[in-house]
């Protein structure tokens, strides 16, 4: 459905939005599904499902190669999504938009290609203590290869980056800074604009892991002045298997290709291959065309609903859930940043998060439990894992009430 940002939404409007998401009406263990695992992956509106199905039913062919009608049509559609994403991110040129498999793939691409060109022995890469393993391991791999080092920005007990410490870490050996826009575990919205500003003062480029930010807030890469920005389609109401890497043209041009194969070449002889220009240089092989088409439909869906509404709605849910959860005796929230996205990590006193997840599942409530691919962060807080409830605009206050009563039930069953 289309929503005008100036109109205050009623619960009735939310029900209309929920109707766009067929899976949300499912029952789990005989109870209505309450889906609070959106930070892991969001559900898909039927507009996205229809776009993918229509593509395969009527429009499919390989892109960039054929002269025939279907191939031209598929290429046009594929490239139109690239332009749509350029606009969505406010990038300068659509050649700065690279389609990848997802955020992890995007970060691996930059770590590998940027690393090969710009990282030497004893150089340093700065990341933060709250990074997802996807924004740690690719950098470790290139550090091992090049003899470089990872430096880590510490955080405070609220889960906020210590900016003074960050500033102190920047030096002439720093080659790149890589931080998340929003923490997947703590929900912290990081001051990425300031991080980029401080890094640029020393001519150091910055990669932003935007996997958690893209579905929740308006991202403008020009305003941020980000050098690289990565995100996944599936967390933003699109299909799995496709993601985006935005990179400034000046960097992408300097970086060697990540993978070799079809589409990324201009000419091949056994003696020498001339690489294609941007963006094809970084898109070897047949791309996930249907996925890109689905992502295009997801961007349309988000644009129709509008970030004004999304932000207001999710902030309201976050505030309501935080208040309600803190009423539960013995519940502790991890991540209390003043600037926070719609995810809450918590523990019930003395109860293992896995047990809580199992009981909530029996009640039809989907949350995530465990270390959320942020083991160093778990170590920072000296815990093995948390329970994480994460919200999307289609969630309701009633669902949060159900979560709270589910947690009370878990406490009763599992408490000593």
């Amino acid at each position: 459905m289309q929503v005008s940002p100036s109109i205050k939404l009623t619960e009735n409007d939310i029900m209309k939005i929920r109707n766009d998401f067929p899976l949300l009406s499912q029952k789990v263990h005989g109870k209505p599904l309450i889906y609070l695992d959106n930070a892991s992956s969001s559900q898909k509106p039927k507009q996205v499902i229809d776009a993918i199905s229509n593509y395969y039913l009527n429009e499919h062919s390989n892109v960039h190669r054929g002269v025939h009608y279907l191939s031209s049509a598929a290429t046009e559609k594929y490239e139109a999504v690239r332009e749509k994403i350029r606009k969505f991110l406010n990038a300068a040129s659509s050649c700065e938009i690279i389609f990848t498999k997802g955020t992890t793939d995007s970060i691996n691409l930059v770590a590998s290609s940027f690393g090969k060109k710009f990282i030497q022995k004893n150089d340093e890469i700065i990341i933060s203590e709250m990074e997802h393993h996807s924004n740690i391991v690719p950098w470790q791999m290139i550090c091992d290869e090049r003899g470089a080092k990872i430096r880590v920005i510490p955080i405070n007990d609220n889960g906020e980056i210590l900016m003074d410490e960050f500033n102190n870490l920047l030096n002439e050996k720093t080659k790149i800074v890589a931080v998340s826009h929003i923490s997947n575990t703590l929900g912290t919205i990081n001051p990425v604009k300031e991080i980029i500003y401080l890094s640029h003062k020393r001519n150091i480029p910055v990669l932003i892991d935007g996997a958690q930010a893209i579905p929740h807030l308006k991202v403008d890469v020009k305003e941020l002045d980000a050098d690289f920005y990565c995100f996944s389609s599936h967390k933003a109401y699109g299909p799995t298997g496709v993601g985006v890497l935005f990179g400034k043209e000046k960097w992408l041009n300097e970086m060697p290709p990540y993978q070799g194969g079809g589409d990324m070449i201009k000419s091949v002889t056994f003696e020498k291959t001339i690489y294609n220009e941007l963006p094809q240089k970084f898109e070897a092989g047949t791309p996930p065309i249907a996925g890109v088409v689905g992502l295009g439909a997801a961007i349309d869906y988000i644009n129709n609903i509008g970030f004004d509404f999304i932000l207001e709605r999710e902030n309201e849910l976050l505030e309501y859930a935080t208040k309600k959860l803190l009423n539960i005796k013995g519940l502790k929230i991890y991540g209390n940043s003043k600037n926070k996205g719609a995810a809450i990590s918590f523990l019930l006193d003395g109860i293992h998060p896995y047990d809580v997840g199992v009981i909530l599942d029996q009640l039809g409530i989907a949350v995530r439990t465990g270390h959320h691919c942020t083991q160093p962060l778990m170590e920072r807080f000296r815990i093995a894992g948390t329970v994480r409830a994460s919200f999307a605009f289609y969630n309701t206050r009633e669902e949060i009430d159900q979560l709270v009563s589910g947690l009370e039930k878990a406490k009763k069953l599992l408490g000593n």
């Binding site: 263990h29 005989g30 109860i351 293992h352 998060p353 896995y354 047990d355 997840g357 199992v358 009981i359 029996q362 439990t369 465990g370 270390h371 093995a384 894992g385 039930k409 069953l413 599992l414």
Partner: protein, 148 residues
């Protein structure tokens, strides 16, 4: 009792919680029973909670210690999560104190019958599946040792 008989006994025990699918709170009673068993499992001596004895799951951890007594293979086990520990207790009840060869050959059908099969799914990564594999491997290894 044989491994099969113990499994049947457990199925019998759990059948009283089964009042058909979707029916109210039968799952609650089942989990209450499971958690009760977790709490009743004798505490594992800390000296056995070593790196070596850990069966790593992504979600919860399981410790497993095997030793031989009068030709039978016995297990001590524990978990940091209560639901997993309840299932660990059931596994120990079924498999501990039997001949190593019986353990390695045992067919475990009771988990499915008591409606807790989802806990054995590899995607749960609670360490339970790895624990069963480890128990059977111990059975095989001790059996080999006896034969040598």
């Amino acid at each position: 009792m044989s491994i099969e008989e113990i499994q049947n006994e457990i199925i019998e025990e759990f059948s009283m919680f089964d009042c058909g699918e979707d029916s109210g709170d039968s799952w609650t009673a089942k989990y209450e029973h499971l958690i009760e068993m977790a709490k009743e499992l004798p505490a594992m001596d800390e000296k056995f909670k070593t790196e070596e004895n850990i069966v790593r799951g992504c979600q919860s951890r399981v410790w497993l210690h095997a030793y031989q007594e009068k030709g039978n293979l016995k297990f001590l086990a524990d978990s940091d999560a209560l639901v997993t520990k309840g299932l660990v207790a059931l596994m120990v009840r079924v498999l501990s104190d039997h001949k190593p060869s019986d353990i390695s050959k045992a067919e475990l059908f009771f988990i499915e019958k008591i409606g807790l099969r989802e806990h054995l799914s590899p995607t749960r990564s609670n360490g339970l599946l790895a624990m069963i594999k480890q128990m059977k491997l111990y059975g095989l290894a001790f059996h080999q040792k006896q034969m040598d």
